[in-house]
Each structure stands twice: as C-alpha cells, then as structure tokens.
Amino acid sequence: MTQLASPLNRTVRHRRWQNPKAGLLFLLPSTIILIVFVAYPIVQSAWMSLHNWSYLQSTQPFIGFQNYIALASDPRFWNALGNTAIFSAVTVPLQVVVGMLLAIKFSRSSWFASFFRSIYFFPVISAFATMAIVWKFLLSPDIGPFAAWEHALGIPTVNILQSTSLALPAVIVVGLWKNVGFTMVILIAALQEVPESLNEAAALDGAGSWGRFRNVTLPAIRQPLLFATILAVIASLQVFDQVYVMTGGGPLFHTETLVTYMYQLGFQQYRSGYAAAVAWVLFILIMLVSVVQLRIFRYRDVD
C-alpha cells in the first residue's frame, strides 16, 4: 500500500464506498455465471438427490434419504467406489513420485533437459478422449503393435482391455502417461523457486544428495507439492475419459468408476436423483481427502 492510498481509503471507508457502481458492474457478469451455473447446481444437486428425480417423469417425488440408503446396498456403486479407490491409490503416489523424479532431473536448464521436459509434458496438452482412441488401437489384440511385439517375442497375445485382471492396470498406466507431465511441471516451477544458496550451504556442511533433498528441497517445496498431490487426487477420483473410451467400464464393470457410473445413471438411464446422490458422495469424498491432506501437512509443519 502506498502512503497516499491509505488516507483516501481508510477514513472514508465506513461512510462511503469509493467506487460502488463500477465495482458492482465489473463483477456482475462473472457473479451471475458463477451463481447460476456453479453455486446453484451444487445446491440443486443435493436437492435432486433427495428426490426420485427423472427427466422422463412429470413429477419428482420427494423421498428423503432413500437414494443414499439404496446406494449403501447397491453392489455396482460399491464396485465403482472400489475401482475408483484402487485407481487413486495406485495413480497418485506413482504420479507424484515419478513427477518429482522427473522434475529433479529436468529442473536445471540445459537443452536436453528442456527437450525431455517437452516430451514428458506433451501428453498433457493432448485431448485425452482422442488419445484414448489411439491407446485402444495400440492395445488391440489383433492389429495393435503391442500384440505384434508379444507375437514376435513368443508371448501369448492377451486382449488386455477385455481382461478382468489387466483392464484396470491398463487404464491406470494410460492415466499416468497422460498426467505425469502435469505434476512434473508444477514441481519444476516449485524447484526453480528454491534458492540455490540453500543447497550450496547444505553441501558445504557436508550433506549428501539425499540429505539435501530431505532437509532442504522437500521443506522448501512443501506447499506446491501439497497442491500437486491434492490436484492429482481430485483428478484421479474423477477419472472418466479413458475409461469411457477404452473399456466403457467393462469388462463386466471391472473398470467402472464413480463418474462413469454417474454418467450411466444420469444420462443413459435418466435416474437423475440417484445419479445426483453418487455425485454428492464424490463431492464429499473430494472435500474429505483435501481436508485430510491439508491437516497432515499442517501437522508436519508443527513438528
């Protein structure tokens, strides 16, 4: 704040706003859109989940928490929740650790570091649904190149995306292929903010490379690392594109996730109330995970 601004702002503040009309006008378009298309739908989603809501019916009867009670005994919901949990539990640690390793390797500027950085980042800018078509093709048991290599090596060819044991791992690997670069880029930006002098001082004190990473680098990038992790968790809980395109949730629901199940309920079976209940479970899950992660990191901070 400049010296000039404070007397102008502070003393007048409680009697008169400085630019009431301009402020409200500038804010109007965004506020309307955020309220109508973000805030209201969240509330509406909760409201719908308390009804037997369907676009196909003329009335939407109120049924209290029955959708949630039904969810609790819906094996397809538990299956979708389980698959989503497995997907997250495997994806997030790998994405953060590999992203971190790559970030450390590529954070210094040299032509080959930036060359590899671009390669690892490139999937991030591609359309996932479109690239999932390509992946489906790559994994095709007859005309795909992976099958050709398996054939050449004498390994029996498997239809990976139709296999109950391999479809989910395939979806996970493709997810990592797409998103590792995202985490890497956040962490590279964070690493570049760490002052070189900190590392140098630690090195002069005789710290090894692991010690420097553990005691200098890691604490310095705690905040961005937390955000990268939260973003990875949130994204993984919403996995949809590659599942929809590559397996459609199959074989036999083995890759069905919360969002693909919600999509099916809401837009193919038109059970909107029930689908809204699934959406709310997902919402609560995301909030819980974010809060827990923020807690853990804060706790360590006090340590």
Binding site: L4, A5, W17, Q18, P20, A22, G23, F26, L27, P29, S30, I33, L34, V38, A39, P41, I42, S45, M48, F116, S118, Y120, F121, F122, V124, I125, S126, A127, F128, T130, M131, V134, F137, I143, P145, A148, A152, F182, I186, L187, A189, E200, A203, L204, R212, F227, L231, I234, Q238, D241, Y244, V245, M262, Y263, F267, S272, A276, A279, F283, S290
Partner: protein
C-alpha cells in the same frame, strides 16, 4: 565437461559407480520418453497408411505405401468440417468471453472498493476447487429448462467465467503498482478506461497464459460436450471421433487422421509458445 560451471553441491568426484548410475538414469529416462511419444508417432504414421497396411499382420509401424487418402476421406466419412468448426466456436468462444469476464471481475476484486466485495471473493474461492462433474446432473436439467441443450450457448455460457481465471488475474493485478491507476483516477479517468488502457496492456502475459489454458482445456474436453450436445452436427472433435470410433466397422487410418488434425492447433501452439502452456499449470501449484 567442465565442472567449474556447476553449482558447488554438484561438484562431486566422478567415480565410476556414480557415472554408471547417471548413464543408467538417462537410459531409463530416454526409454520412458520413447514410450511417451510412441502413441503420437503411431497415430501420425497410421494416418498415412492404406487400409491394407492398417490391417497387416503383424502390425507394422512404418507405412508400406504412403497414402494421403485418409486426409481427404475424413471430410466425407464424418462431418469433420462441422466438428472442427464446433470445436473452434466452443473453445474459442469460451476463451474470449471468459478472459473478458474474468479480467473484469479480477480488476474489481484487485482494485475497486464496493459493497459485497468480500462475499464475491469468497464465492470465487469456494467455487475454485469444485469439479464440474459434480454439477453435471443439475446443469443438464437447467440447460434443458432453458432449452439450451445441443446449442452453442449451452456449451459456452456455463463456462463463460472461471474461478481459476479470476484468481489468476487478480493475483497479477494486485502485483501492479497502485501509483499507475491512482494517478489516472486523480486525472479523472473512468474505471473502464483504467481497466482497458492501463491494466489490460500490463497484464498481457497473464492474459496469454489464461487464454492458452482455457483454450486447451475446452478444445480437449470430452465429458461436457458429450453431455450437452446430442446431434452429430453439434458434437466437438473429441466427442465426434469417439462416437465414430465406437462404430462396428472403423476405418482406423481415417480415425487417426482426425486425431492428428485435432492435435495440430495445440501442437503447433505448444511448439512456438510452450511457456504459456507451462505457466498456466505451474500457477495452479503456486496459488
């Protein structure tokens, strides 16, 4: 390699073990890099294959006969021109409108003093972390009530502002010295003039970052256009290609040509202006 240019902490003795580890590290990185680019290489090479090559057993990476047929067939087998136009209108429309609205809101939150400012700021923060998947079911109902399903306004308007964009630009505006706009205000300049002639020109890098980020996300988005549109004429490229690819008999070379064309705009932009792509994502971690 001269070690004197390296920072102190990297000036280790080059023991054979260390050297071996370094080499293994780069070999692993190169192998994974091959894995990362492979789908793109396969996609592009396949788009130049003849049908015979596509179905050759075992699969060949390199086309036996180069053919450009897919690139002319794509416009006939699919309403691809229409899909492309829809993607341009959707992603372009969202980008332009949201950059304008976001910068309006960001300017108000960073510089102006008015009732309800704090509430507005909390609204932005609260919606920042909300994934749109959660609002999808009621949004569909809302668009149905407005009779906006399967229309450009239905695709664009709900996305015409983003909490992320407002937040990003606000952070940037706050960092601009106040003397600049205070002086103009004392000279009697209107708030709109200060916004348009002082703040926006200074914010060009942040605007470019946001625009690239928005364009990329919407050009690539799948679920939103899939839900909002239903007729073939309103589909965007990812949704259109996916539905085409789901048909029983598929011309893979044509499909790969479509995928290659759809990657082209962002691929080229990435080649020339990589830093804007990177900045948009890097800021999500720093906020």
């Amino acid at each position: 390699m001269s070690t004197s240019s390296l920072p102190v902490y990297l000036r280790h003795q080059r023991t054979p073990l260390r050297l071996t580890l370094t080499i293994i590290g780069w070999v692993v990185i190169s192998l994974i890099a091959l894995f990362v680019v492979f789908p793109f290489v396969w996609m592009i090479l396949t788009s130049f294959k003849t049908e015979k090559d596509v179905f050759a057993l075992p699969a060949q990476l390199w086309p036996a006969h180069w053919s450009f047929l897919s690139y002319s067939e794509i416009w006939k087998e699919l309403p691809f021109a229409r899909l492309f136009l829809n993607s341009v209108i959707f992603a372009g429309g969202v980008t332009v409108i949201s950059v304008v609205f976001d910068s309006f809101a960001a300017y108000a939150l960073a510089r102006l003093d008015f009732p309800g400012k704090n509430i507005a700021f909390y609204l932005v923060i609260a919606t920042l972390m909300v994934p749109y998947q959660i609002t999808l079911i009621p949004l569909f109902q809302e668009l149905f009530n407005l009779q906006w399903l399967d229309s450009y306004q239905g695709l664009i308007v709900p996305r015409a502002t983003s909490a992320f964009g407002i937040f990003l630009l606000r952070q940037f505006f706050v960092s601009i010295p106040r003397d600049l706009d205070s002086a103009a205000r004392i000279d009697g300049a209107s708030e709109f003039r200060i916004y348009a002639q002082i703040m926006m020109p200074l914010a060009k890098p942040a605007i470019a970052t946001l625009a690239v980020f928005q364009f990329m996300n919407n050009w690539n988005d799948f679920l939103w256009p899939l839900v909002v549109t239903s007729s073939t004429d309103m589909r965007t490229i990812p949704a259109g290609l996916t539905l085409f690819g789901g048909q029983y008999v598929v011309d893979y070379a044509v499909l790969m040509a479509g995928a290659t064309i759809s990657l082209l705009p962002l691929g080229l932009a990435f080649f020339f202006a990589q830093r804007y792509f990177v900045q948009g994502i890097a800021t999500t971690g720093i906020k």
